[in-house]
Amino acid sequence: MGEIREQFLADLKKAASAKEIEQVRIRYLGRKGTITLLAKNTDFSKLTPEQKRDFGRQLNELKALAETEIAQALEAAKAREAAAPAAVLAALDRTLPGTGHSVGCIHPIALVQMELEDIFQGMGFMVLTGPEVEREYYNFDALNIPSDHPARDMQDTYWLTNGMLLRTHTSAIQVRAMERFGAPLRAIFPGRCFRYEAIDASHENTFYQLEGLMVDEGISVANLIAVMKALLSQIFHRDVTVRLRPGFFPFVEPGFELDAQCLLCGGKGCSTCKGSGWIELIPCGLVHPRVLEFGRIDTSKYSGFAFGLGLTRLAMMKFGIPDIRLMNSGDIRFYEQFPAAV
């Protein structure tokens, strides 16, 4: 019996898989198994009662040992196999892509608008909106744009049969904001504007602007430059070199064009900045005293600056969109490129 025991343990040790262990079990404990047949093949008539007792005891011990060992080995083998990479992979393929996606897309102009709102709210600017169908008063007269100004013709402005117009710039909200909040005031006005234009790759009749206005005591050109630089460094995530040069708009005096040094070539000249080293970005200036007066602001106490950002153009620059018509194109292959990541 000792031999069988040793042999059994050796065989069991050799068995690796559950299948092999099962074979060992059959070989020893099966119907025709060695241990099973031990009792059968023993002639008990030749044994003394003491020998019979011993044999019985040893046989039981052997059987118990075998069953225990086999059970343990089987459990361990099964656990091992279940944990084997291939087995797991079959039950849980963790390399498959995720499901339940619910993130769609936000319009690129809205993305840029939300970014700018964050930047400006971070500097204490309100975000205000105004009507797109606007009165001539707010769009022109209150901005010191006289009635014989070219912009008032059919050429540039969409006029409605009821005498109102589609606003040509978000500047139309300036005086509304001043009437509503008075001074001091700082706010941005994002919104849609309309100009009667022939549409091509860089001109649209429907586009977005973001106007900014700050009215307070002692507002100066130095303040305007600083705020614009801060804005641009937030938008482009680095320090931006700017230059201010004269520009004329009836609602600011002095008026400027603020150019940013071309980020691609560092001012040396390239195709993006058309060789000049500068990108014309932000028309701006100190608010014209007449406009402050229309807003019922005391010009002896307050001054202000105003600026206009082309939101559509900024979105085109930021995302490398070559054709402005894509913005209103309705083409899903355009819109779906902009994940709702803000």
């Binding site: 936000i106 059919m154 409605l160 307070d216 005096e253 014209h288």
Partner: protein, 855 residues
């Protein structure tokens, strides 16, 4: 190969390839008088001309262009004009012999010896002096001149047009030179080999009428570079004050605030001095003779347009409106239709010029004109603009008056013209005194402002002497008084529209001082909480929910309808606002709802994707009773699937789920979905929400009966949601599933950061019981729910709908609706007896209602 070089510094659009070389002028441009061809977006400035007034030595063109851009106006670019004058001499034509066709053989005395040359130019005549290129010279285009045979005759050298000399592209006539120049004298002494032409975007000069001439630019450059500005040489007109006045009447001072004229006799047909000709050519102008060229020259020098009449044909001047409709022929030969309001210049009997725009054909200066009447006047910008735009006559003269030219140079221009005519050796005889009607306004205008205001607006203290230096260089009078006030005299050449308030003075000082020298400084402000606009936050909340939580794609459509598409849909908008000048006839109506434009996108995009969800947040517009506008912000959306995946009902429930989520996120109150079996629900228009007005049925084709619901909040209708079916589905997306919805975002008002009260869950664990009820599919879920609402039991915490099953194993026409009843008590754990009691009660209820359980 070109004779032109290019150098560029542009901050605007495009690498401007300026190709103004060979080729005849465009038809219609053959005449004189204030025309520039095709490049009327640019003001051209010749640095050669400027150097008459400012010493530019040591300054390269790029620096000049740069500083001018930073201090004055945007210089788009510049070109170096290289002329071919080496070896070319002055030649006198002593004989002319006709040959075949229009060719003639000219004998030219070029100082050293005579030359015979074949020439086809129409203005060739005996006695004239011209530019002659002897054999061995090289002209424009690399053309080398050798002796040749032309028409069987030996031809040595070439009599030149401006084009051959590289002066411009004009090649039809010979460049005629003044008789005072010696035969054989080198042309290079009169016409330098190089000039630099700056090109200034005229949009950046809109507000600076004084810069539409070289003297104004010279003044700017003198101030910018700190150099002396030389005065403009003019003739003294006072010696003629004893002469009779010219008969002049101005009847419309509103549109012609000032008019001056001078009459003089001059010998006809004299050529202009070469200094004048070379500069006119460099700017793309043609030259003819002294009398014609000099008015053009002075306009480009002083920005003051003048006009010369044939003094024998115009014996009196009356400035008055047309007064009636009628025809008038301008000197380009075109007959124009005048309106009564147009301003004309009249002689004794009839109109002789379109004031400020163009002269008339009948009275123009001809080669044999001996008596000249010079007009120099000031016209109101709006009047000139209206007429010139209507007639599409955007002449150089009109462009300048449209910029509100001040009258400062009215008198100066005449004095300058006279001086130039005198300097050309023409010995003019003035026959009238300078006759002026109206206000010349050639005085300084006072303005006082505190020094502190300048510093405050600049954000920097600028030294007094720097301020006065700059202002003085720009032509202002300026001094600081003891009280700290800056006392300014605004010069007459700066119009009232341009300079009238202290902020204008600040701009003058700072721009020349250099904006780049102002150190940026962030403003210091008093801190206070920020006001937040709810409507905008609502938009962003809605946008994020749809785009981040439900896979929608945001689109933007135009603010107007496409009426052709509306016709296909069968929709007639009510109370839409109408554009007077739409981009296209079918885009006249402003959109009253977002849905039609969104539906158009379905067909367009189904070729690319077989399912998608689009949304738009935008304004809709409608007309109020009094015609004024009502504007609202809407959220609209469409969801599209190809047929069969998933079912229409699943699709509908999914989109409804999005709207239900929206209600939760906007915290506006519970959204309810009411289905009406009968009438279409009115569009949520801005006024419908206020007045509850119902529109007549059949108005809204996408609200297909039994396929849509109206969305309400707190009893008010806030939107609708539906599926397309039938004819409209065929139009929009045949064989597809299309769902649409539109919500009035303003009506979904709720707090941005909602408050709520926490409710502790029951301490004692509860239980739940599920029931599957068999119900008629044709009666619908809502009907079943309202029946169940009649059952109440103290143990019921809430009832939850799980799902509906419509498959096999059910009686025909029936569905199985599964509900979960959540049970619990606040004061104890439920016992199984209590649960059983509940079951019994509920089952009894069902039985009494005749509702069977699924077997």
């Amino acid at each position: 190969m070109t004779a032109w070089d290019f150098g560029f510094r542009s901050s605007k659009s495009g690498f401007r390839l300026l190709n103004r070389l060979v080729g005849p002028p465009a038809p219609g441009n053959e005449t004189q008088d204030h025309f520039t061809d095709n490049e009327d977006e640019l003001v051209k400035i010749s640095l050669d001309w400027i150097s008459d007034f400012v010493d530019l030595s040591g300054l390269d063109p790029a620096t000049i262009a740069d500083r001018l851009t930073l201090c004055t106006a945007e210089v788009e670019g510049f070109e170096v004009l290289r002329r071919c004058v080496e070896g070319v001499v002055i030649g006198e034509v002593t004989a002319v012999e006709p040959l075949a066709g229009n060719l003639r053989l000219a004998t030219v005395d070029a100082g050293s010896r005579p030359y015979a040359t074949v020439c086809g130019a129409p203005n060739l005549r005996v006695g004239m002096k011209a530019a002659f290129a002897p054999p061995g010279t090289t002209l424009a285009g690399g053309m080398r001149i050798e002796a040749t045979e032309v028409g069987g005759r030996r031809s040595e050298g070439v009599l030149c047009s401006a084009m051959e000399l590289g002066m411009s592209r004009w090649h039809e006539v010979l460049l005629e030179c003044p008789a005072s120049l010696a035969n054989g004298a080198p042309l290079a002494a009169q016409v330098p080999a190089e000039d630099v032409i700056l090109e200034i975007d005229n949009k950046s000069l809109t507000h600076r009428p004084d810069l539409w001439g070289h003297y104004g630019i010279a003044r700017e450059l003198a101030a910018i570079f700190g150099r002396e500005l030389r005065p403009l040489p003019t003739a003294n007109l006072s010696p003629y004050d004893h002469l009779p006045a010219f008969p002049l009447t101005v009847e419309d001072f509103e549109n012609c605030p000032c008019y001056a004229c001078l009459e003089l006799r001059v010998p006809p047909g004299l050529p202009s001095p070469l200094a004048m000709q070379r500069r006119l050519h460099a700017l793309g102008q043609r030259t003819f003779n002294l009398l014609v060229d000099v008015t053009n020259y002075v306009m480009l020098e002083l920005a003051q347009p003048t006009h010369a009449f044939d003094g024998d044909l115009v014996r009196a001047i009356r400035v008055a409106p047309m007064g009636r409709a009628g025809a008038f022929t301008t000197l380009d030969g075109q007959e124009r239709q005048m309106l009564p309001d147009d301003l004309l210049i009249w002689n004794q009997t009839e109109p002789v010029a379109l004031a400020g725009i163009m002269g008339g054909l009948a009275s123009e200066v001809r080669p044999d004109t001996r008596r000249l009447l010079l007009e120099s006047a000031n016209f109101k910008a709006a009047r000139i603009r209206r007429t010139s735009v209507r007639l599409d006559l955007r002449t150089d003269s009109a462009q300048r008056f449209e910029k509100s030219q001040p009258p400062a140079n009215v008198k100066t221009a005449i004095a300058r013209i006279l001086r130039l005519i005198q300097e050309a050796g023409a010995q003019p005889e003035v026959t009238s005194r300078l006759t002026v009607a109206g206000d010349l306004k050639d005085h300084f205008r006072p303005l006082v402002m505190p020094r502190t205001l300048l510093h405050a607006l600049a954000g920097k203290e600028i030294a007094d002497d720097e301020v006065t230096r700059i202002l003085t260089a720009l032509g202002f009078q300026a001094r600081f008084d003891a009280a700290g006030q800056l006392r300014v005299g605004i010069p007459p050449h700066r119009s009232e529209k341009d300079i009238s308030i202290p902020a204008d003075i600040v701009e003058e000082v700072l721009r020349v001082y250099g904006y780049g020298r102002i150190e940026p400084r962030m403003p210091s402000v008093a801190m206070r909480p920020l006001h937040v606009e709810r409507p905008l936050r609502r938009e962003h909340k809605a946008r994020r929910l749809l785009a981040q939580g439900h896979g929608f794609i945001e689109v933007q459509n135009y603010g107007w309808f496409d009426e052709a598409w509306l016709g296909q849909l069968g929709f007639t908008p009510q109370r839409a606002l109408v554009l007077k000048n739409p981009s296209a006839q079918q885009n006249r109506l402003l959109r009253t709802t977002l849905i039609p434009n969104l539906l158009a996108l379905v067909g367009r995009n189904r070729v690319h994707r077989d399912s998608f969800r689009l949304f738009e947040i935008g304004r809709v517009y409608s007309a109020a009773d009094d015609g004024a506008s009502i504007e609202g912000t809407r959220l609209g959306g469409v969801s599209f699937h190809q047929m069969h995946q998933p079912t229409l009902e699943e699709h509908f429930r999914a989109v409804r789920g999005v709207i239900e989520d929206l209600g939760r996120v906007l915290s506006c109150g519970a959204l309810r979905f009411e289905s009406s079996a009968a009438d279409p629900i009115p569009l949520p228009s801005a006024d419908a929400c206020e007045t509850g007005e119902k529109k007549p049925p059949g108005d809204v084709p996408w609200q297909v009966p039994h396929y849509f619901v109206s969305v309400t909040c707190n009893g008010k209708q806030v939107g609708s949601l539906g599926a397309l079916s039938g004819k409209i589905l065929e139009t929009v997306a045949p064989d597809g599933q299309v769902l649409w919805f539109e919500l009035d975002l303003e009506a979904l008002d709720g707090p941005i950061y909602p408050e709520l009260k926490y409710q502790a869950p029951p301490i004692y664990p509860g239980s739940w019981q599920d029931f599957s009820l068999v119900w008629d599919l044709t009666q619908g879920f809502a009907a079943l729910e309202s029946r169940l609402d009649a059952f109440s039991h103290p143990l019921v915490m809430r009832r939850e709908f799980l799902y509906v099953y419509k498959g096999k194993g059910l009686p025909p026409g029936k569905g199985s609706y599964s509900f979960r009843y959540w049970l619990g008590a606040w004061d104890r754990t439920l016992t199984s007896e209590q649960i059983d009691a509940f079951r019994d009660a509920f089952l009894a209820f069902l039985q009494s209602e005749g509702i069977a359980l699924r077997g």
